[in-house]
């Protein structure tokens, strides 16, 4: 689905007169592979290059070196740019800054309108996508009257209406309250499991990464760690060195283990921890 090889991205720094004064390497030699239908989480602290990476997948940024292929399409080829954006949809962090329409249904229709989908088909797609994210009953509302989580689900519907094979979510929950966050993640998981859409979730909430098939941890423009959530989160010390937390239960399990209790590393849910503790008592 997505194949990145040896990607390098430099931002040009400018001094006060606007002359280039140097470069910042935001992504440094990243290679990764995503198979169709996978749920991928990319973790990393601020400035680790994860948002820059996300923008490459949608051809909003172009490689300084290396190649990015989305469904076989090279992002360097400018004639393919609209196909790529249609294949890989993108959800951004701030819901207010990505909703264009003044009515929910009009916003969801914006993508298909741009693609030149005939009118009746647009309505069909809008209805489907709003139902998928559970926002159909709000279709006549103004986005300004919705909560953050609802707005973000509308943004997701707007992307689904373009029928992408892959959706890149760039910290979609960073500005939401806990219940809005849960709704958005639920919607993302549903899209992945039921509709087989490849999801690439960029986040700094570790709990959200537990559901993923594969986790990449970025640091300083490189992929520092990768593996299944269990593999990655069992390396608590390494994560701490990268200024990242592990989920709270994982940390608790880790600390108990350090104190000498016989608990496996990489506990991801409360149930697992409870079971491990019960087994210990026997």
């Amino acid at each position: 689905m997505i194949k990145i090889s040896k990607l390098i991205h430099d931002y040009i720094q400018r001094d006060e007169e606007g002359n280039p004064s140097g470069t910042i390497r935001a992504i440094n030699d990243v290679s990764l592979d995503v198979r169709p239908g996978q749920f991928i989480a990319i973790l990393g602290h601020n400035g680790s290059g994860k948002s820059t990476l996300a923008k490459h997948l949608n051809a909003l940024l172009f490689p300084t070196e290396g190649t990015v292929r989305v469904d076989g399409l090279d992002t360097k080829d400018e004639s393919l740019i609209w196909d790529i954006r249609q294949t890989a949809g993108m959800v951004f962090q701030n819901p207010d800054n990505q909703i264009i329409g003044q009515v929910v249904e009009e916003d969801v229709g914006f993508g298909p309108e741009n693609m030149g989908v005939p009118t009746e088909k647009i309505w069909q797609r809008v209805e489907e996508s709003l139902k998928t994210v559970g926002m159909y009953k709000y279709r006549k509302k103004s986005p300004n009257r919705l909560s953050g989580g609802q707005k973000q689900r509308v943004s997701i519907a707007g992307v689904i209406a373009m029928h992408p094979k892959c959706i890149v979510m760039d910290e979609p929950t960073a500005m939401l309250d806990p219940s809005g966050r849960a709704d958005v993640i639920k919607a993302a998981i549903k899209l992945n499991r039921e509709d087989g859409i490849t999801i690439i979730l960029i986040t700094h909430y570790m709990e959200e990464a537990i559901q993923a098939d594969h986790v990449f941890v970025m640091d300083d423009g490189r992929i520092a760690m990768q593996g299944s959530p269990r593999e990655v989160f069992s390396r608590v010390e390494e994560m701490k060195e990268l200024h990242l937390d592990v989920p709270q239960v994982t940390l608790l399990g880790h600390l108990l283990r350090k104190e000498g209790l016989d608990i496996p590393e990489g506990i991801l849910t409360r149930e697992e921890l409870a079971r491990a503790l019960v087994r210990l008592k026997k």
């Binding site: 949608n58 909003l60 609209w82 954006r85 249609q86 949809g89 993108m90 951004f92 701030n94 207010d96 800054n97 990505q98 909703i99 264009i100 329409g101 003044q102 009515v103 249904e105 009009e106 229709g109 914006f110 993508g111 298909p112 309108e113 741009n114 693609m115 030149g116 989908v117 005939p118 009118t119 647009i122 309505w123 809008v126 986005p143 300004n144 009257r145 707007g158 992307v159 373009m162």
Partner: protein, 271 residues
Amino acid sequence: MFKDITLGQYYQTDSLLHRLDPRVKIVGTLVYIISLFVVNSFIGYLVCALFLIAMIALSNVPVGYIVRGMRAILILLLITMSFNLFLTPGEEIFRFAFLRITREGLSFAVKMAIRLSLLVIGSSLMTLTTTPNQLTDAIESLLNPLKRVRVPVHEIAMMMSIALRFIPILMEETDKIMKAQIARGADFESRNLIKKIKSLVPLLVPLFISAFRRANDLAMAMEARCYRGGIGRTKMKPLVYHGRDHGAYFLLLAYFALCIVLRLVRLPFLV
């Protein structure tokens, strides 16, 4: 509190006028404004007023709601009236110190007042019965011929509709920044005009910065959703004329013809 603001004060209800194609309403308003300047007799104004009253009746908008909107132009109305009243030369009928009223001035002032009031009520009736969205759509469609002379019609309409979408968001933001600055001791309550203007600086600077940041984000989000201008774009809600719209155009034509006739044929027993 800013969430409920609507631009152009759209009045939500269902009526024949609300359902009419927005293009008809824009053209209708323009024709109506022109007609107010075509007629120049009191019988003419009577016809214009009756037409407007009929439209208001069809719109289901409460009369009180419309009259309230008139308060805003009351001062303007009084100023224009007094200028016409006192400064038109002609046959003098009243004099007080340096003020003199002429017969011509009186008739001119009254006509101007009627004209202005009808004009304002007529155009506000359009905004009351048409959502801002429909208006931008209609403007895009009406200006379409200008595309041939390279006027970026679609882009203008898109900018208008984005501006409308962001008005409440920026209002809310202004509110937030104001509270933040008040918490740090800013004084927005001062009655001193210079102080008042100065106090706007810490409000406007962050507001502009945030607006630019939002614009940047929005542009990226639009590109990510394949926006590439008006070319090859389809419409989710295309404007289609129905039978009633053709009827409305016909009525408009008849009304305008009547106004022209009233102007050309001078009835001897009327001023």
